[in-house]
């Protein structure tokens, strides 16, 4: 027997409204950069994930934020809308609360600095390292970018090598290139 969709959705909505969830998530299936999992906690956006493998992703969320993780599409409506606007070029900055409590302190400092890099601009790993007072930590900054829990929203795609090469991207270089072209940072 299957559970009727109406009943399933009604429970998910009630669960979101109950305030008992650690993380409400949904998978946005048809973005220009492929499927994206987005998760929000009561404090704000806590995950953006490319090509999500559901079970692995949910286990990670449960480990980082608590086991009460449930797919509740309406709970991520605002994130969905801002991303939609971004993908068609109508939004240049996100207006979302961010929940980085599962991210280590050094990473948070680097991500805060990253968040100041504006739409359509790029910076380098070395510059970011210098800005957080660790000029020789360019490689460590690369690791922070690679583990960025909120790609796109925290724009690690705007960080390139000192020689202007794209270098790397947690979501794959094709996506980095696509995002930079969208923003007009690449011709």
């Amino acid at each position: 027997m299957t559970v009727p969709t109406v009943l399933d959705e009604r429970f998910r909505a009630a669960a979101a409204a109950s305030g008992e969830l650690d993380v409400a998530f949904d998978v946005l299936d048809d973005t220009p950069v492929g499927p994206l999992l987005v998760g929000v906690s009561e404090r704000g956006l806590c995950r953006v994930s490319f090509d999500p493998e559901p079970e692995t992703e949910l286990e990670r969320l449960a480990r980082d934020f608590g086991s009460r993780v449930l797919r509740t599409p309406p709970a991520v409506d605002r994130v969905r809308r801002e991303l939609d606007e971004y993908f068609v070029g109508r939004r240049h900055a996100f207006d979302l609360e961010l929940d980085l409590r599962a991210t280590p302190e050094f990473h948070r400092r680097v991500l805060a600095e990253l968040n100041r890099v504006e739409y359509g601009h790029t910076t380098t790993y070395g510059t970011l390292a210098a800005q957080v007072g660790a000029p020789r930590a360019a490689r460590a900054v690369g690791t922070v970018m690679n583990r960025n829990p909120l790609p796109i929203v925290l724009p690690c795609h705007r960080v390139v090598g000192a020689n202007g090469s794209l270098t790397g991207y947690g979501g794959g270089l094709d996506r980095k290139e696509w995002l930079l072209r969208l923003e007009g940072a690449l011709l």
Binding site: M1, A14, E59
Partner: protein
């Protein structure tokens, strides 16, 4: 030995929702089952953060569903009739009577007895709920009943 980890609620819900709904429809009828379904999983969600391990989650959620059925019946029926469930076709003991009696049983036997005689589950369902099989469920239930008889004789 490490205990079974608690799965993310999404996986727990997806894994058990169909069985819970089927159970509620059998026990409370199609009309009431929808409301009880939501009540059951909201209750489970509230309690989920306090779970200490992920064992027997199936039996756990069926217990919650069974309690939701009883609570709903209690809300609907006048208190005078509460003490005894309507006599079943084979005079099954009511869950309300059974629960306190079985408090002293080992957890597996208690679950088997309550699910069999209180909630009318088949042994293969109970086996599945306990993460074992039909045979083991049958043994656990009869061991539980034997233990209860013995206790009664000693009293």
């Amino acid at each position: 030995m490490a205990r079974t980890r608690i799965p993310p609620f999404e996986l727990f819900y997806e894994c058990h929702k169909a069985e819970v709904l089927a159970f509620l429809r059998r026990r409370a009828g199609r009309d009431r089952a929808d409301d009880l379904f939501q009540e059951t999983f909201l209750h489970a969600l509230r309690a989920y953060g306090r779970l200490e391990h992920g064992e027997h989650l199936r039996a756990w959620v069926l217990m919650i569903a069974g309690n939701a059925v009883i609570d709903a019946a209690r809300r609907e029926r006048p208190t005078a009739e509460l003490a005894v469930e309507p006599a079943g076709e084979d005079e099954r003991p009511a869950v309300e009577e059974l629960a306190p009696l079985t408090d002293g049983l080992p957890p597996k036997e208690r679950a088997a007895v309550v699910l069999r005689y209180g909630y009318d589950l088949d042994y293969d369902e109970i086996g599945a709920a306990l993460g074992s099989n039909e045979q083991a469920a049958r043994q656990a239930a009869s061991a539980g009943v034997r233990r209860l008889r013995k206790e009664k004789e000693q009293r």
